[in-house]
């Protein structure tokens, strides 16, 4: 029986990716997260959601640029980990930070643009997490599934905007993620352009013959 190459890759990513979340769950109640544990948990879950989402978006560009195929095999795990952290981020905010006071939460989501965009990003990730299974790829058909999952780019951009608006003064870190995203967009854009030219060339040749 031939096992898939790198059978350890996805389990390792899952375990390693969830380890910090487990750590937070242990450290928080023990008082090991510093004077403002809620803030620390919010910052960490939010940061990891953005990092993992960006990493999932880097899989295809890595294949295009370096011809690596293994990143494609961990894309789904990265995306689901990103969703897990985004959902945890929201739960820490709603339950611990706001004490589940619905009025205050709705006011935040409606009136504070930085929370509006963060919440929108999370909402965009929900259908992507739900349709992440092979069965859903079949049900939707690959082209439609692929179009739907381009929402991940929108969610990542909103995530960066959320980060930028949250910071009081120093934008270095959020802009770093903006730069990485821009780079990924550039690779995808260049690839799309190359494909269109190739198609045009083929069409021109077949028209000439």
């Amino acid at each position: 029986m031939a096992s898939p190459p790198h059978p350890w890759l996805n389990p390792a990513l899952t375990v390693g990716g969830l380890a910090p979340l487990m750590m937070l769950a242990v450290q928080g109640p023990r008082g090991d997260l510093g004077p403002n544990a809620v803030e620390a948990a919010l910052n960490q879950t939010g940061l990891f959601a953005l990092v993992l989402l960006t990493a999932s978006l880097a899989c295809t560009p890595l294949r295009l640029v370096f011809k690596w195929t293994w990143p494609a095999r961990i894309r789904r795990t990265l995306g689901l980990l990103a969703f897990t952290y985004a959902a945890s981020h929201f739960l820490v905010y709603a339950v611990l930070d706001q004490g589940l006071k619905l009025g205050a939460i709705l006011e935040d989501i409606g009136k504070r643009p930085f929370i509006t965009v963060g919440f929108t990003a999370l909402m965009l990730l929900v259908p992507l997490a739900v349709t992440s299974t092979n069965a859903w790829v079949r049900r939707l058909g690959f082209p439609r599934w692929q179009r739907l999952h381009r929402l991940a780019y929108v969610a990542a951009v909103l995530g960066v905007v959320h980060f930028v608006w949250r910071v009081k003064k120093d934008l270095t870190e959020p802009l770093l993620y903006a730069a990485v995203l821009a780079l990924l967009f550039a690779v995808r854009g260049a690839e799309a352009m190359r494909k269109r030219r190739a198609r045009a060339a083929v069409a021109a040749r077949s028209a000439a013959s």
């Binding site: 390792a12 090991d32 997260l33 510093g34 004077p35 803030e39 990092v51 004490g99 009081k168 003064k169």
Partner: protein
Amino acid sequence: MSDKPPAEPPSSEVTPEALYLRRREFLKNTGLFAGTAAAVAGGLYLLGRKQTRPMDAFVPDAGLLDLPVAKAKGPYDTDEPRTSYEDVTTYNNFYEFGLDKNDPARFAHSLKPRPWTVVIDGEVHKPQTVDIDQLTSWFPLEERIYRMRCVEAWSMVIPWLGFPLGELLKRVEPTSQAKYVAFTTLQDPEQMPGQKRGTLDWPYVEGLRLDEAQHPLTLMAVGLYGRQLPNQNGAPMRLVVPWKYGFKGIKSIVRISLTREEPPTTWNLAAPGEYGFYANVNPAVSHPRWSQASERRIGGDLERRPTLPFNGYAEQVAHLYAGMDLRKNF
């Protein structure tokens, strides 16, 4: 023990080659699994570590003198539980030493709070340049247990040591032209490495209206918890205005000038739509990006508590703003 070589195991116990190779693959995969999982967890840990750095290593105690206190309890003291010395000295906003809350505790050792001179000038009859210890010796030190509300919606209860700014102003005799008091923090990137970055316009400047500065609640703090002010809390002398957001409490002051015009203030210059000159604690006026209606007490309950107008000092200070639109003058 015998010297004889060990007997060969019977052939039935020899692992078949195929199984042996699979075992090797299994071990290899296990190793790769463990290594990759550790690398992923470690990478994330490195990215997020600044939020969860252990703090206890930075709590200052050596070299800080106990200060003589003239009066144990004043009429303005709150009875609420005090925020621990550890939290007060490791959770700070002092961008001159970095942007993270624990940066000041980690990096403020480069500040030299002695010798230190303070310039008092502008619209005063007795301008002077005075050594900090001499200045402090002019006044009996009082303990004041105040609430401190940060504009970021967290709060503490801190036992400060200091003297009313009004007493200092009396001594230098403001002229009839004096309407405001302007304060300036030290500017020295060698002592304050955060000033090498253009995060804010350095030096940090703050200001008060003269009547705010003369109010008996307004304190020049030179200590906390009965000790000299640690560097990260604004040594050797800082301003404490308990009914205003914490950023008004300018640290490591080198100059106090009385002026005719409203002086510029650092956060107002940086983001005029978000931080006003007055910066009175006001639950009814939200920061453009977050609500000011509630706050988290550091080291206190997990649940947020409602923020009080003027941070609970309305009875003492609300009259200063009679007739003013506090939404416009935020």
